[in-house]
Amino acid sequence: MSHVLDFLLTREGFSVRLARDGREALRAIAEEDPCEVVILDVMMPFASGIQVVRSLRQTPGWSDVPVIMVSGKGAESDVVSALEAGASDYLTKPFRPREFVARVRAQIVRSRAAANGSALARDGVA
């Protein structure tokens, strides 16, 4: 699936970094600079998407990065536990490619607006 997401996002002009499993994702969070949005599968080898999002929310610099979970598990409890763990959005498979790209864009826009808002507040602009 990562290949398709990579293709769709690259085509839209995004620069994409891929982690092959949960362990690699955790390493990227610990060692690399934050990105604008993180897409996670719930079921990954070595560390689940839920574990990764929890770790991400506790890592300085990454804690405000929007996370979109993509999973075949669409039960109410799965969605709730992902959102409670800190995911910003949840997309169940099968999904529509254009809808996926639109959700990524929406998360980035929201995240940038929030960052601008907090920068303005920090500078004392009401």
Partner: protein, 352 residues
């Protein structure tokens, strides 16, 4: 004596040569197999890379051509193509199907139905289901009625994908006869077809089914429209005295949690079977209101612990119930068991 010794030396020498040749031969065979495997792997990786790009491009633009797929590569490409189909939906599937047809996957899949290997036949059935070619239904129908549970279920699923409204009645009639079909897979097929397609035929079948099959069909009613499912369950409950059917019906009503289900559930609080009473109490716990308080309080004195527990939990879950009100109900009880069970539930609520 010397001649005999030299004969032994000659035999030993030739035996040594033979072993050496055999060893070298085996070594060469192993190297050959390794080279062939590495070559096959590289070829497969190239093929997968090329087709991944083709499939990904097909998600965003209509394909106009596709490289022909050889018989040797057909299974691998069909598998990859099917994988894209499984995790994507929407308009892009039309493009995937166009690409599949341009590459001749339909021809490979039809041929694959005659394969001796179950895996190939399963793959072919999935491809034909995703391609949604109505002409292939005549090939899939006999497989859907075959003895193999995997092949028959896959074929039934494919038929549902090709023409859901025309295949749903057949599928439902088969469900009752196929205890070897995993219920979770059947549920997934019904969910994929959608409640508009499933509701009426399933309701009809559940009402008309033999009492032995009714619980199974009732379980699948969670894939139906609430109002249709509730109407069918009501009709079944009016006509049956079978306890398993009643229990499954009450379970489904509780699961639906439709306000109209409350009146039905209340009736079964008086049933002589305590398991049925238990399901009725659980239903009230999900849908009940203040009108049910007296009945639930009465159930707190029931001789079965589980009914007392569920009644206390149901009281705690009522929309207008507060901790103070629940404590007041507890204090009014002159039955020790009723007080104890309410104390237990209040403690659980506080801990939560």
């Amino acid at each position: 004596m010397v001649g005999f010794q030299s004969l032994i030396v000659v035999i030993a020498m030739w035996a040594g040569v033979a072993v050496l040749v055999l060893t070298l031969g085996l070594f060469a065979v192993i190297i050959g197999i390794r080279i062939a495997q590495a070559h096959g792997r590289r070829r497969s990786e190239r093929l997968t890379r090329r087709w991944r790009n083709l499939l990904s491009r097909a998600l965003v633009e209509t394909p106009v051509s596709a490289p022909p797929v050889s018989r040797r590569d057909a299974a691998e490409i069909m598998s990859l193509w099917g994988y894209y189909h499984e995790f994507l939906r929407g308009e892009c599937k039309t493009n995937l199907n166009r690409l599949g047809q341009l590459a001749g996957l339909d021809i490979h899949a039809k041929r694959g139905l005659r394969s001796d290997r179950v895996r190939h036949r399963l793959l072919s059935i999935h491809v034909l289901g995703n391609l949604r070619d109505r002409e292939t239904r005549r090939l899939l129908r006999p497989i859907a009625r075959s003895a193999n549970p995997y092949l028959s279920l896959a074929a039934a699923h494919a038929l549902m994908r090709i023409s859901p409204r025309e295949s749903i009645t057949d599928l439902i009639s088969m469900i009752a006869q196929r205890p070897d079909w995993p219920p979770a897979r059947v549920m997934a097929i019904l969910q994929e077809a959608g409640p508009e397609v499933v509701s009426e035929p399933l309701a009809r079948a559940a009402i008309e089914a033999d009492v032995a099959y009714q619980p199974l069909l009732l379980i699948y009613m969670s894939t139906s429209l609430d109002r249709v499912a509730l109407r069918a369950i009501k009709e079944i409950l009016l006509a049956t005295s079978d306890e398993q059917v009643i229990i499954t019906s009450l379970y489904q009503i509780t699961h639906l949690a439709h306000p109209d289900g409350l009146h039905i559930v209340r009736v079964f609080l008086e049933h002589p079977n305590w398991l049925i009473q238990l399901h009725a109490v659980q239903g009230i716990g999900r849908m009940g209101n203040d009108d049910d308080i007296d009945d639930l309080v009465r159930m707190l004195r029931h001789q079965k612990y589980w009914i007392r527990l569920r009644a206390a939990e149901a009281l705690a879950k009522l929309p207008t119930m507060t901790a103070r009100r629940l404590a007041a109900i507890r204090d009014r009880q002159d039955d020790r068991y009723a007080r104890d069970i309410l104390r237990e539930v209040i403690a659980q609520e506080v801990a939560a």
